[in-house]
Amino acid sequence: MNEVILTMEGIDKTFPGVHALDHVSLEVRKGEVHALMGENGAGKSTLMKVLTGIYTKDSGTILYEGREVCYSSPREAQAAGIVIVHQELNMMGHLTVAQNIFVGREFKKGLLIDDARMNEEARKLFQQLNIDIDPRETMSRLTVGKQQMCEIAKAISHEAKVIVFDEPSAALTDSEIDQLFRIIRDLRTKQYGIVYISHRMDEIKKITDRVTVMRDGQTVGTLVTADSSKDDIIHMMVGRVIFEEPKTHSRVPDGAMVVLKVEHLNAGRMVQDVSFELRKGEILGFSGLMGAGRTETARALFGADPKESGDIYINGKKVNIHSPQDAVRAGIGYLSEDRKRYGVVLKKNITENSTLACLQRYIKHGNIIDGVAEREVTQKFVDALKTKTPGIDQMVMNLSGGNQQKVVVAKWLISNCEILIFDEPTRGIDVGAKQEIYELMNRLAQEGKSVLMISSEMPEILRMSDRIIVMCEGKKTAEFDVSEATQEKIMNAATREIAV
């Protein structure tokens, strides 16, 4: 066994309302590829941000090359030799490869930038990594895979000793992944310590030596990859105590009408041939890992993003949805996962937000807004949804996450939507308010509304859904009735190996 290069022990980090890291430990050796796994929100990214100084830890120790360290910025960590290759590449597309690699520490000749020397140094780096990229090429003309190679080269050029890969394969093609693995194996033999964050079970088996699993901000344990099966790892990822009882059976009556039918929906790489049905009074859960294409499916269905092909039927009648306007007219409402950006107008009040989708119904004398009617209906829904606010003139900015969500729900209810798409309905909402949102969704379903719920939280999916669709890499991989669904089954479908 090689010597340990990095030890994180008892790392604790609390954000207001969330215990993000609860005494987490991680140990990385030289010449090892160490996988860090866990569901969305398990704390992997937070842990890496603590390591590289983006967040400061509340307690715990980080030992790097035998010395205790504490970085206050990514720059410091980089200088010491700890770098992250991010999932989203931080590259400037209009600069050349070499300029990108040496950005911030350009070689100079007097006052001028010495491009020739940077190209030469970059060429040496690529040689070292056995990569064939021209340092003079413009970054934006490279494929995503090649851009990532550049990111790796940049990491090496910082004389890194520990390299963290944050879901590096998410945007790569199969052959690019092969090349990435070749480079990673190469780095392993050169005695780098490597942390590899990924959701893809097959990759973990292929490339990593050990795997540490995190769940709900805690370390569940560390396994030697070769000695453990995919099921072992999945079990560690989901094996939490479930305090939220799953639904035992679907509450949708037999023979309920199909209100929404989607056939062969295609929209880019993230939505490939997705078909499903939604019945009246049903809560249809969409499960999957981050980047599985669920939000993209919803947005394409809602007309927020263009779709390539696919038919949508509402109450059996084919509808053409090319824009959110068409969708709203057809009775579909979309509650985005990012409320502040896509859901509410923060600097406007509750009334203005509530009637935004159907203001045409609250006018008189031509085009003048009927303030009385508008306020009346807003007040009615504030009462009905129990939105906590001093008054309906309150700016939405001043409400809590749960109450903002209720304003968005009110907006769609006021415009008489029969189909509601909830995208991560409880993200950023505290525990007490979560319960309220759950009750609200159940009540809506009982009243005959149909709900499509996208959620990354397994207990939420199992507790709320009547039926569950699982997506992985833009494809629908499974469909369960809630009575037959289990966390393991869902996780299996969500991590199904698509690349063969």
């Binding site: 950006r341 935004l356 006018i363 085009n367 907006k411």
Partner: protein
């Protein structure tokens, strides 16, 4: 003292008008007082206080006011329109040429003026809303186009509108009638209509909302492009109206000019409390802002300074007002 101020701020009428609009009205009186004192000292014994000066300041306030009202809609949507000054001159040149060279009836020429403005507004609005061009660069380009077209149309001649025959100069009565400021009444009436459109109609509501969060409004099923374009059309149309009041006051228009007036109109808006980041706008504030700009230029000239001082002050006012707006927003967040 602090408590008294707080109490005053909470009065119903203060809340409706807005506290900073009241401050602006006070500033008008302060400026007037200051000019009254300084003018005789700086400009050997000239008297600032006289009726003609008030009328002269108002003449300036009208067209700046109309330009400002128009651009208030654009700024409310989070955009900017730098073309309005040049568009105003283009409108005045084309319609004036129609009147003097083609002998078209006056009412038709006034209509042409407004139509030219509306056309420029539509073109700008189309590129910003439907082609997603930045409003800054779109309006800069249209400013050049408007300047050029105005010159080409009149063969680089200046145009002088008729000023004394009763049949062709009744348009001047809209500005001043029997030495009474009729223009002020019309400005207030148009401002009232603008206020209704902005605060009481769906169009205005959508414009203000899309100025704060366009994507959320689009995802609510609103055709944001249509309403964004409408703001530019209103801006252009009101520039056409401003043209009428410009010639009504000064009769002569020269080609290749006009673009300095955008800045004064925008200054009037931001001073009045319209936020440059979009989402909140004040029609009343813009009117008061226009009066301040006009009074300032009257005072500068009366005190014997050149108009160049006006440019410097306008620039500084924009910097100051926008800084204040950004700072107050940051504090509230």
């Amino acid at each position: 003292m602090k408590q008294a101020l707080l109490k005053f701020k909470n009065l119903r009428f203060v809340k409706t008008i807005g506290f900073n609009r009241i401050v602006l009205i006070l500033i008008i009186f302060l400026m007037y007082g200051l000019f009254t004192i300084l003018t005789p000292i700086l400009h050997n014994g000239t008297n600032f206080v006289n009726y003609n000066r008030v009328m002269s300041a108002l003449n300036y306030a009208y067209f700046i006011g109309f330009l400002g009202l128009g651009v208030t809609f654009v700024i409310a949507t989070g955009g900017i329109d730098f073309s309005i000054g040049a568009v105003m001159f283009c409108s005045a040149l084309i319609s004036g040429y129609c009147l003097t060279k083609f002998n078209m009836p006056l009412w038709l020429c006034l209509f042409v003026s407004i139509a030219v403005g509306a056309l420029f507004g539509s073109v700008g609005g189309y590129f910003v809303a439907y082609r997603h061009l930045p409003s800054f660069i779109t309006s800069m380009a249209l400013m050049q186009v408007a300047k050029g077209i105005g010159s080409i149309f009149t063969k680089t001649q200046s145009v002088t509108w008729p000023s004394n025959s009763p049949a062709t100069s009744w348009y001047r009565d809209m500005v001043k009638w029997n030495n009474l400021p009729t223009g002020f009444i019309i400005l207030c009436a148009v401002a009232a209509v603008c206020a209704i459109v902005l605060y009481k109609t769906t169009a205005g509501r959508y414009m203000l909302c899309l100025g704060s969060n366009k994507e959320a409004v689009r995802l609510s099923g609103v055709d944001t492009r249509k309403w964004e374009m409408l703001a530019y059309i209103l801006s252009g149309t009101l520039a056409g109206v401003a043209a009428i009041f410009y010639v009504g006051a000064y009769t002569t228009v020269q080609p290749g000019l006009g673009d300095t007036f955008n800045n004064e109109a925008i200054a009037a808006c931001v001073m009045g409390g319209t936020s440059m980041v979009g989402g909140s706008a004040s029609i009343l504030g813009t009117v008061i802002g226009a009066i301040i700009v006009a009074l300032m230029q009257e005072g500068i000239l009366a005190m014997g300074f050149t108009i160049s001082y006006q440019y410097v002050l306008t620039g500084l006012i924009v910097l100051g007002a926008v800084t204040a707006d950004i700072m107050s927003r940051r504090r509230r967040n």
